[in-house]
């Protein structure tokens, strides 16, 4: 069976793995990502880690998952916020020259979506829209096993979709953007105002809701409704076969998932109510999805 190298590069850690075409992790290592030391030092460290994989040259290709939008054709990061001086650095070319292997990159939500589409909840379905909901919100659109990353890698940046009228400017996102209304961060912000200023974690709010706290129940309901409206907007654009939901908030799916499904049905045409909404299945979508990138390009 063919094997691939996956690299999950974050602001803190970098993980490197050898993965089989069926998604089995055959070898894995991790290290400090050295993210503030500049691209040469970060990539030289990754090259060393890859060269430590036994028989790494027998792998078919390398895939990298990276925080931020990526120009997949040029193999560059178009906006690196957590990786110093990476914006527009020729990441794919630098690694290819050093390793003699084809290298592909895409952003971390896209590779997680690719993993779920290829091996997880979206397996065998022609089109999958993956959405991760934790401190932030991100997405990925996968058609026939290939990420649609768009003109400059902004496909799936669903965080900025507007779901309500709001006059409160919170950050660089649109007024009423879903990430400021229905992310974990937004839930905590709203709960501090409405329930208890001491709340610091979304889990506490779900716990209060489970205990029947009216205000917490309202906040969870309102989050589910706004998240579902964002999903409905996505569905009217691409009509995916399934939405796969990942990220930390899905840990509270008992309080939340059925609400999202109900609100979604109310926001779409009758013929779209059969779109599946399921939880992500894979434990390691980041590293496995990165390894699936070369496969998705036909390698």
């Amino acid at each position: 069976m063919k094997t691939y190298i996956g690299v999950d590069l974050g602001g803190t850690l970098v993980r490197v793995a050898k993965v089989s075409a069926s998604g089995e992790i055959l070898y894995e290592s991790k290290s400090d990502s050295l993210a503030q030391k500049g691209p040469e030092i970060v990539l030289d460290n990754i090259i060393k880690m890859i060269k430590n994989i036994p028989d790494y040259k027998e792998c078919v290709g390398v895939g990298l998952g990276i925080p931020g939008p990526v120009d997949t054709v040029k193999g560059i990061i178009t906006l690196a916020t957590n990786l110093k001086d990476f914006t527009n650095f020729p990441v794919a070319k630098y690694l290819e020259d050093a390793l003699g292997l084809r290298v592909f990159l895409d952003n971390d939500a896209n590779v997680a979506g690719l993993a779920e589409a290829t091996l997880g909840a979206g397996k065998d379905l022609p089109s999958v829209y993956y959405i991760t909901q934790s401190t932030g919100i991100g997405g990925a659109f996968v058609v026939d096993g290939r990420v649609i990353s768009g003109r400059t890698g902004y496909a799936g940046e669903v965080a900025n979709i507007v779901v309500c009228e709001s006059s409160e400017k919170i950050n660089h996102l649109n007024l009423g953007a879903v990430e400021n209304e229905a992310s974990g961060t937004a839930l905590v912000r709203r709960a501090k105002e409405l329930v208890d200023p001491e709340i610091s974690d979304a889990r506490e709010i779900f716990e209060l809701a489970r205990e029947g706290n009216e205000k917490a129940l309202f906040l969870v309901d309102d989050m589910a409704r706004k998240f579902a409206l964002m999903m409905a907007n996505v569905a009217h654009v691409v009509d995916p076969h399934i939405f796969v939901l990942g990220g930390g908030i899905t840990k509270a799916h008992d309080m939340y998932l059925d609400l999202v499904r109900e609100y979604f049905k109310g926001y779409v045409h009758k013929g779209m109510r059969g779109i599946k909404i399921e939880l992500a299945q894979l434990k390691e979508p980041g590293i496995i999805g990165a390894a699936m990138l070369p496969l998705s390009y036909g390698l």
Copy 2:
């Protein structure tokens, strides 16, 4: 050069054409579509029209553009509102059996988008989001020369995307859906309330705006802003290389297009401001796009 047969089937008329791979119409005929007589009579009429095309058997395949969402895999219309008893009728199979040619169908916005992506304003670009704005609003997403029509043909049904909070239930669409806020029909409805109850056509409102009428200017500005917000929502889902705008409203592009472009830039991330927004170029996108369907499937 290969030739294709395109069929543009509407509630009133049906048009049949033989089209070259470069988009030249080589032969054309039209007739009453007989839309209320049921699928056999409608399709038998189309079969007769196709058989009247000289050397029709030398064409590579047939494409149909149809109002309403289409299941392109099964070759059926999933929701026919203007064509009596067409919902779930095996359109593609019926025509294939009679003609001995491969038959593909898709909805009219999708085939118009395909034409613009293949031969019009989106030519040579990897991904195109086409949006038509006239009495209603429709869209189509074309990637690498192929329409992404979705699970049951609802991709591109952008009319139902929510762009504002509204408590006015107008039709089956969502409260605040863009079609009820920024279509030609919506513009007339709002102008009747705000400007003059005698207004009956969007052209009159643009004319008043050109003359400096403050209320008409406000309505045009508000329509452009809401349309641009819908486009921004689309862009965050798929990040297309270009938006191609068609439909009757674009005839007033002098009053309108630059406003849409400016509002769009304000609603997207900086890296997305380079997404092109251009007018459709083809005079006959419906019939040419229908003929391009077989080509888009590799024929």
